[in-house]
Amino acid sequence: MSAALSDLWPFLVLITVGFLPNEIWRVLGLVLARGLNEDSQVVMWSRAVATATLAGVIAKLLLFSSGSLAAIPLSVRLGAAAIGFVAFLVAKRSVFVGVAIGEVVLLAGGYLFAN
């Protein structure tokens, strides 16, 4: 690969693999917005698929972490996520409390058990 192409490559990927496959659903929504409402069955199903896909991303990021996070043991990562989640439930569904507690647990666990 030439130097110019390898510089442009990430941007080409951004447009073709990132932007277009993502934007198409917004454009379809704009085009087909008439006639569908939030409670229609197609809309309900796609919301469930979207939520499950996002959950799959979360599981993947937690199990197969990259970079510096990979140096934190898996048990600490999963434990911190679980404790953060419980804290979120206990704190009347406060996202802020859940994230803060989860991060503190990761920091402490990483400090004590880092590979």
Partner: protein, 242 residues
């Protein structure tokens, strides 16, 4: 509450939207998510310009995570594109539900292009909550201001994460990277009010983990379609039973 947000002009509505963005809880979620994304992009050797452009063009944190980690780990690009398009399906019903709120009788199609592109989880949830309080002719401007506020914050926090990750000790860099899955998990759980959404979240986590461990091809696609459809079917069966 109707009419409790009144603006004299479209520009006042726009800046009212920006202000609403900075005051909402999603500002913190975006901070966490995009600091994490900045750190991730840095880790995988992408430039800050690339990250900023991806925020402006893609404007969907899950898709950006898939894209950045896909490029970084050298995944097959067709699989990355598929995972992104699957993660983006949710944008379709959001746009469909949002536009009737933004539109008036005089609205031209091109006035809807920006609100359409700006549609994302944070903007959508806040728009559906706040727009009914505004006069219809101010809603598009408010909605655009809200989105510009969120997007500006996302770009700014992307910079913060990118440059923090460069100079941070590994343990702190790890906590930044951890912000992405953690804030996704918790904000998705917060948005999951219905049993179907909670079931989809749980099944997606379980299937996503299982398929990833088994190294199944297109794991995200199967986790999404399988977990989502199962949650939807359970929801339909329960509805039919009552």
């Amino acid at each position: 509450m109707a009419g409790s947000l009144t603006f004299d002009s479209s520009s006042a509505a726009f800046f009212g939207g920006v202000r609403a963005a900075f005051l909402s809880v999603f500002f913190l979620v975006l901070a966490g998510t995009y600091v994490g994304l900045g750190a991730l992009a840095h880790d995988f050797g992408l430039s800050i310009f690339w990250l900023t452009l991806s925020t402006l063009l893609v404007w969907a944190a899950p898709a950006q995570v898939i894209l950045i980690s896909g490029i970084g780990t050298g995944a097959a690009l067709i699989e990355v594109a598929l995972a992104i398009t699957l993660s983006a399906i949710r944008l379709f019903p959001m746009v469909v539900a949002l536009l009737p709120l933004v539109r008036t009788r005089d609205t031209r199609l091109r006035d809807l292009i920006l609100p359409t592109h700006f549609t994302s989880v944070s903007m959508w949830v806040e728009s559906l909550r706040l727009l009914p309080m505004l006069a219809p002719e101010r809603r598009a401007a408010f909605c655009n201001g809200l989105s510009v506020g969120y997007m500006g914050a996302a770009v700014g926090f992307g910079f913060v994460g990118y440059y923090l990750a460069a100079g941070l000790p590994p343990l702190l860099a790890a906590t930044l990277l951890f912000l992405t899955p953690l804030s996704f998990l918790i904000s998705t759980a917060r948005n999951a009010r219905m049993m179907m959404d909670r079931l989809a979240l749980g099944l997606g986590l379980a299937l996503g983990a299982l398929l990833t461990i088994l190294h199944v091809d297109f794991d995200l696609m199967w986790a999404g379609i399988g977990g989502g459809t199962l949650a939807y079917v359970v929801h339909r069966v329960r509805e039919a039973a009552t």
